[in-house]
């Protein structure tokens, strides 16, 4: 009888601690209202992006008959804005912002035999979806470094197949390819904490950043990384602009 009481007491204590922890985390996320925004620009003449000949698969060739597809390794907008740059907080994050992956499900679509978007950023542990809009089968073959703890996979998606849902265990910039269409090439940018990807004009906004001092890193697949220090204080978004110089 005495034992049972003891057990009940311990259980109560555990419950109290758990509720407290939940409340605390809740408080932190409620506070993560801050934002970091800015623009990423490219300076200089953009490198030549070779055209892609998709004739090997008539479906792809037909889907792109009116456009001329080309590589997307460096995509510069009309105002010099650099697209597909991933921005994330590389230093200064702690606690809950790190431990709770985002709950939205980013989508990586295979459309007209290209990846949309070309770079898909996501949080560690965040579930993402690979979908196909094409009437030809693709295989999705991401190539992580096995030393990071991310496990490589390779699976096909025939036309009409439901989305493939996956997540990654460790932060890493992972190249993804379709071997059936060797020109298809994209990235899974897996980072810890809040992130953003630049749009066609090079603009971005990282949301849900709790107030504090941070280092923001901008990563571009061929141009490398740049960092900037920012302070997020509350109401107004902190600013961080980047400029990548061409060769």
């Amino acid at each position: 009888m005495k034992n049972l009481q003891k057990l009940a007491a311990v259980l109560m204590a555990v419950m109290v601690v758990l509720c407290g922890a939940l409340l605390l985390t809740h408080e932190v996320s409620a506070a993560s209202e801050g934002k970091i925004s800015g623009t990423v620009k490219y300076e200089g003449t953009p490198p030549h992006m070779r055209g892609i000949d998709m004739s090997k698969d008539p479906y792809c060739a037909k889907a792109n008959a009116s456009t001329s597809p080309h590589m997307e390794n460096v995509v510069v907008g009309s105002g010099g804005g650099l697209e597909n740059v991933v921005l994330y907080i590389s230093e200064g994050l702690s606690g809950a912002a790190l431990s709770q992956p985002a709950t939205n499900v980013p989508v990586f679509d295979q459309k007209n035999c290209e990846y949309t978007p070309h770079v898909l950023a996501m949080d560690v542990g965040q579930t993402f979806k690979v979908t196909t809009s094409d009437q030809t089968a693709h295989n999705i073959h991401p190539n992580p470094n096995p030393m990071t703890g991310n496990i490589p996979w390779n699976q096909s998606q025939p036309p009409g197949a439901p989305p493939v849902e996956k997540s990654w265990k460790a932060p890493e910039m992972i190249e993804v390819k379709c071997n059936i269409h060797p020109w298809m090439h994209g990235w899974f940018a897996v980072v810890k904490g809040p992130y953003a990807t630049t749009d066609a004009n090079g603009n971005y906004t990282i949301s849900n950043v709790p107030p504090g001092n941070y280092t923001v890193t901008a990563w571009q697949e061929t141009l490398g990384t740049q960092t900037a220090k920012v302070t997020v204080s509350g109401a107004a978004p902190a600013k961080a602009d980047f400029t990548f110089k061409g060769k």
């Binding site: 698969d57 008539p58 089968a137 025939p158 036309p159 197949a161 071997n179």
Partner: protein, 594 residues
């Protein structure tokens, strides 16, 4: 003299416990039935896989309800992925070639009837024999287990061409653990067949009873003996090849992968291997394997035909010599699988010649069968129907060999459905017909009950017409240039052939369903069939003179039989009717040596 000499060899007391009687039995008859059961389970799985493939080929993005249960990633939304198709294809071929066509006609019937037909109590090495089955069983489990590992089974095809089979995971789904399990399974399988072959050879050479000279062996026994000699040499080559392949995966060796291999933009850590080496090793086994599948069938069919024609073959010896010639030549022709593989073009011509020559012994076998049919008193029953169907299929599949033996034509037909049609008819369907003929013929001896004849005939008609409906169009597809091992028709590719594929799919579903009649017949007849007499077909060979049906533990009771005749004393006048059994001292006719 013989009977006393080997009375101790292979002799073991009748088992008493259930496990020693039915599971770990030393009795060749039980082992034969175990092999048959394994082959039956395997063939049903293999056929089921082929149904899935055919459905996919006819209606590519069709969702097959429940398909996702068979695979982790291979069927999102029940639609088959390209890799899953190839995995099914590889498993279908491996299961059929190794666990059906090698085990059923050779290991199953051979185990049961070879010792009885030579007049022995058992095989000389019963423990090896038991091991042979259980090792094969383990091999089967290992192969099936690859369905349950990470990416599923290997997709490399039953030929497992290197370097795709040797580079590991990066080569595609199933190319990691799947290949290793495949190679392991086949290496284990080889051990089982080597043990079996050893037993068969020794049984034939050393265990014959008094009066049973080699030439008095029935043709089925000759078939198994010749096959076991091929098995001993062919599997002995495949086993090391599989071990080297495993080493390429687990030990970092490069037997089959050359330097500078770049897969998915990654340099592979290999150098110095040869991809053609695998092909030579594989086909050095692979071509004899075709004859391992078909020669026992030839023996069984000859045996069934003689009994049902009520007359001997035109020449017993010529048939034996022809089967022997097939066995010898089968080692010299393997290069015809590699005409366009990049080996020296002179080798192609060198390999072409024996490949063309091998049609001569094959023709002799067929002509002897047909010439023997002349003037026969042919009985039509399920067994003889399948035996005659075997001949028809063997001809149909054999004539396409003319094409594939010639390197210049092979440029057009290599790796097309023509090849698929060829080997399915000649080693798939024909060998299966041999198995069916043997089953309808020997079932009464094995289980003491007759099989249902009506069901047997329905089974035959569906199978015979169905097999032609499936495999003849394969030749047309091949002539039109349809490449094999394609999971679907890529946009614009060979669209006009899709209706023909749909026709084949429907024929395959129908013919496959007809096989369930056979399975039903087997099980119902096993328990409810009409009781069989000792010699229901009025046969002459030793299995029909056992004291009981099925035969007792030591086959012939206390006394081994004494043989007085050749096994083909039919169409004679004797006290029993138109035949004289091998054990009967009665003189059969002027030619009889008794």
């Amino acid at each position: 003299m013989h009977d006393t000499a080997h009375a101790h060899v292979g002799q073991h007391a009748a088992p008493t416990s259930f496990i020693r009687k039915h599971v770990f039995s030393l009795d060749h008859k039980v082992i034969g039935k175990q092999y048959y059961g394994l082959a039956l389970a395997a063939v049903l799985i293999g056929m089921f896989l082929s149904w899935l493939m055919r459905l996919h080929l006819g209606w590519t993005n069709l969702a097959i309800p429940g398909l996702h249960l068979l695979t982790k990633n291979g069927a999102p939304g029940d639609v088959m992925t390209p890799e899953f198709y190839l995995q099914l294809m590889t498993m279908h071929a491996t299961i059929m070639v190794f666990f059906v066509l090698t085990t059923a006609p050779f290991a199953a019937f051979g185990n049961y009837f070879l010792p009885i037909q030579v007049g022995a109590e058992d095989m000389p090495f019963p423990h090896f024999n038991m091991m042979s089955f259980w090792v094969t069983f383990v091999a089967f489990l290992v192969l099936m287990s690859s369905f349950f590992v990470s990416d599923g089974p290997t997709l490399g095809g039953w030929t497992q061409y290197a370097p795709l089979s040797a580079v590991g995971q990066v080569g595609g789904p199933g190319e990691g653990a799947g290949v290793v399990l495949w190679a392991l399974s086949i290496a284990i399988f080889c051990v089982g067949q080597l043990l079996g072959s050893l037993n068969f050879i020794t049984t034939t050479l050393d265990m014959r009873t008094r009066g049973m000279s080699l030439w008095r062996l029935p043709l089925s026994a000759w078939g198994w003996f010749i096959t076991s000699v091929m098995g001993l040499t062919a599997f002995a080559v495949l086993m090391p090849a599989c071990i080297l392949l495993i080493l390429d995966h687990v030990a970092g060796t490069s037997f089959f992968v050359p330097a500078n291999t770049v897969i998915n933009d990654q340099m592979q850590p290999h150098s110095g291997g040869s991809t053609l080496l695998w092909q030579h090793l594989f086909w050095f086994f692979g071509h004899p394997e075709v004859y391992i599948a078909i020669v026992p069938g030839m023996g069984i069919v000859s045996h069934v035909l003689i009994t049902n024609m009520r007359k001997p073959m035109l020449s017993h010896r010529v048939l034996v010599y022809a089967m022997g010639a097939l066995a010898v030549l089968s080692y010299m022709v393997y290069g015809h699988h590699m005409f366009v593989s990049g080996m020296n073009p002179v080798s192609s011509l060198v390999f072409s010649f024996p490949t063309l020559v091998i049609t001569i012994p094959s023709t002799i076998v067929v002509l002897i069968w047909m010439g023997s049919l002349y003037g026969a008193k042919l009985r039509i029953n399920s067994a003889s129907l399948f035996a005659l169907g075997f001949i028809s299929m063997f001809i149909a599949g054999g004539v396409s060999g003319f094409f594939l033996a010639q390197p210049s034509i092979d440029i057009m037909l290599h790796a097309t459905y023509f090849v698929v049609g060829h080997f399915h008819l000649v080693m798939g369907v024909a060998a299966m017909f041999g198995i069916f003929a043997g089953t309808y013929f020997w079932f009464p001896k094995m289980y003491g009950r007759m099989m249902n004849e009506t069901l047997g005939k329905i089974h035959f008609w569906c199978s015979f017409v169905g097999a032609y409906a499936i495999f003849m169009p394969f030749h047309y597809l091949g002539l039109a240039g349809n490449v094999r091992r394609y999971q679907a028709f890529a946009p614009e590719y060979m669209q006009h052939l899709i209706p023909l594929h749909k026709f084949i799919t429907i024929a395959a579903l129908f013919t496959g369903a007809a096989q369930l009649i056979f399975v039903y017949n087997l099980f119902v007849s096993r328990y409810k069939g009409e009781p069989a007499r000792d010699n229901p077909w009025q046969g002459t060979s030793l299995e029909w003179s056992t004291p009981t049906t099925p035969p007792p533990h030591n086959n012939f009771g206390d006394k081994l039989p004494v043989v007085y005749h050749d096994p083909f004393q039919y169409g004679v006048e004797s006290s029993t009717g138109d035949y004289v059994m091998q054990t009967s001292p009665e003189k059969a006719g002027p030619d009889d040596e008794a």
